[in-house]
């Protein structure tokens, strides 16, 4: 495999996020008053080593999805840096950023909203390759077939449209699209929260298999502690734009120190009945 850019020898991390701050300015409420600000992230740092996975848990408004957007370079931070393989994504020129994007792909929450209903599965899955503009149509189609096979779909599915698939299958298509550039990191923002329990199990197992097979790292964003526990080596608990606690999931969930983590854990409904009828 060709080295696409030189990793910084000092940093062994695949992804290095340092002091990430993102404040959003809202429209002015009064003509001469200062515009209100939303402080989505207030200095978040973490790193992901190759082949390891990091989970980010927190509630709505804690800044989880802002992290995903910044790591994907879909938005610019107010300050701080996102380094992928030693390169600061937000300092790269456009053309190099486009090339760097092959190493990081994303899987979205809603498998109904994230696939274009008017495109065939072949086009949807091959789109990242088309954006890189290095391969011919025929090669793209072949790669799309391979990618579908990796997620347990058939090559005959290439000519179908998204509406012909169930929610779980659509999420597999979205994962196939993320896999096609052979990324080192997949950012998954609530990848299973729109799925039923039994389908969720299938998709989580698939993500686990792909991790072993291709050595992919996940940056998994979820409100579901059990899902993070299942897939990640490390977890960061995010609250109001700050990481309040981090550690290995089993350790963290068994001995939570921060009151917010404790409250989050206490709120999870347990599947054991409290009262006997």
């Amino acid at each position: 495999m060709t080295q696409r850019f030189d990793p910084d020898p000092k940093s062994a991390a695949l992804l290095e996020v340092t002091d990430l701050v993102r404040h959003y300015t809202l429209p002015r409420e009064r003509l001469f008053g200062p515009p209100p600000m939303v402080k989505a992230l207030n200095g978040v740092s973490f790193s992901v080593r190759p082949g390891r996975s990091l989970g980010i848990v927190g509630e709505s408004g804690s800044g989880k999805s802002t992290i995903a957007r910044l790591v994907m370079a879909l938005d610019r931070p107010t300050s701080g840096s996102v380094k992928l393989l030693g390169r600061d994504l937000h300092a790269l020129p456009k053309d190099q950023l486009r090339a760097a994007r092959r190493d990081v792909q994303m899987v979205f929450q809603d498998p109904y909203g994230s696939l274009d209903p008017r495109q065939t599965v072949a086009r949807i899955v091959a789109e990242p390759l088309e954006a890189l503009a290095e391969t011919s149509r025929a090669e793209q189609r072949e790669a799309a077939g391979d990618s579908l096979a990796a997620v347990g779909l058939r090559a005959t599915d290439l000519n179908k449209y998204p509406h012909e698939f169930s929610g779980g299958q659509r999420q597999r298509i979205a994962i196939a699209r993320a896999l096609i550039t052979r990324p080192k990191l997949i950012v998954a923002d609530e990848p299973v929260s729109a799925l039923d329990v039994s389908v969720q199990a299938q998709v989580l197992n698939l993500m686990q298999d792909l991790q072993q097979q291709f050595g992919i790292s996940y940056l998994l964003i979820s409100h579901d502690l059990a899902v993070v526990n299942h897939l990640c080596d490390e977890v960061c608990v995010l609250h109001r734009g700050l990481v309040v606690e981090r550690g290995a999931p089993q350790q963290l969930f068994a001995h939570a120190q921060h009151p917010y983590t404790q409250a989050l854990l206490a709120a999870v409904p347990r599947p054991e009945p409290l009262t006997c009828a």
């Binding site: 199990a201 197992n205 989050l264 206490a266 999870v268 599947p271 054991e272 009945p273 009828a277």
Partner: protein, 328 residues
């Protein structure tokens, strides 16, 4: 007499691929003050079941069987009569609090609406009642927020407003269809506590629909597990959770990732996928996906087998399953 008696309820929906039986012969009873949970995955018929109780099915749907609410037959009841029950004797809380509230009306008006309609209260009296209700469901500083619109509230507060609306006329039966699915866990906990508290305080019966076994475990005394339009297992929550007799129930429990489980474990999956309603087999709906399937499963619908504690399971292979000692 039970508050609610459902017997051999069938619902046929018209789909693009022809008629589909979304609910196939389910039955249960609910006493006053009793709490019932319905658990199952998308398309199992749990929402259709409660929509038929509320008379909210599409007009093309065909309903047969019997739903007796406080002695009154609801199947075939004219819409005019159904309107009198809905929002008065039967209250409903919906999944998505933003779409369940009307964005162009103030919350006082919406919460007071059932009182004006069913109780004939004046606007001023309905407003007073609405304030009491909003205070009861925990809207902070409710008096000054009566004239606010739904978009000015957070998701959890909107769900509280939805609960206040459902409670307005003091219903005998409260139906909550996935009331916390759109909410964060800490908010979910508060809303479930509110619903449990209100049910106990007012002696209402509760039907709670959820896909989350944890929510069911903490909130209801008896439960139905639905699959493919049928109730495959039913009984007291404690008994169902302890025995997990039906292979589908076992699959559902095993598929959940557990908090604190060691890493690297594979989740148990149910093989295959949920069949479309049109394609459901004639016999047991779970036949084919179940590893205990034999020819007899495909042929006829299994009759309910009664286990201790009024625990019923529709499966003809219970002895074989028990012999393997599978508790997922």
């Amino acid at each position: 007499m039970s508050l609610l008696e459902v017997n051999d309820l069938h619902v046929q929906l018209q789909t693009q691929r022809g008629p589909a039986e979304a609910v196939r012969g389910i039955g249960f009873t609910l006493e006053r003050g009793e709490t019932l949970g319905i658990v199952g995955e998308s398309g199992c018929g749990k929402s259709i079941t409660v929509q038929s109780l509320m008379g909210l099915l599409p007009s093309s749907a065909k309903l047969s069987g019997s739903i007796r609410f406080d002695g009154k037959e609801l199947v075939g009841l004219p819409e005019r009569e159904m309107c009198k029950l809905r929002g008065d004797r039967i209250g409903m809380i919906f999944q998505e609090p933003m779409t369940a509230l009307n964005p162009v009306h103030t919350i006082a008006r919406q919460v007071g609406e059932p009182l004006r309609l069913h109780r004939g209260l004046s606007s001023a009296d309905a407003r007073k009642e609405a304030l009491a209700l909003l205070e009861r469901v925990g809207i902070p500083d409710a008096a000054s927020r009566l004239d606010a619109y739904p978009h000015q509230f957070s998701g959890g507060q909107r769900q509280r407003i939805g609960i206040a609306m459902a409670l307005a006329c003091g219903p005998d039966l409260l139906i909550a269809d996935e009331p916390t699915t759109a909410l964060d866990v800490t908010i979910q906990k508060q809303i479930l506590e509110l619903i449990r508290g209100l049910v106990a305080e007012r002696g209402m019966a509760l039907i709670l629909i959820s896909h989350d076994l944890g929510v069911i475990a903490e909130s209801v005394s008896k439960m139905l597990v639905m699959y493919g339009g049928s109730v495959v297992e039913s009984g007291p929550t404690a008994a169902v959770f302890a025995e997990r007799a039906h292979p589908y129930t076992q699959g559902l429990f095993a598929a959940r990732p557990a908090l604190g489980a060691p890493r690297g474990l594979k989740l148990a999956t149910i093989r295959g996928s949920v069949p479309e309603l049109v394609d459901l087999p004639a016999g047991c709906p779970f036949a084919g996906r179940c590893r205990f399937t034999v020819d007899a499963c495909q042929a006829t619908r299994p009759p309910p087998v009664l286990l201790p504690h009024d625990h019923r399971v529709r499966c003809i292979r219970l002895d074989e399953i028990a012999a393997e000692g599978v508790i997922a």
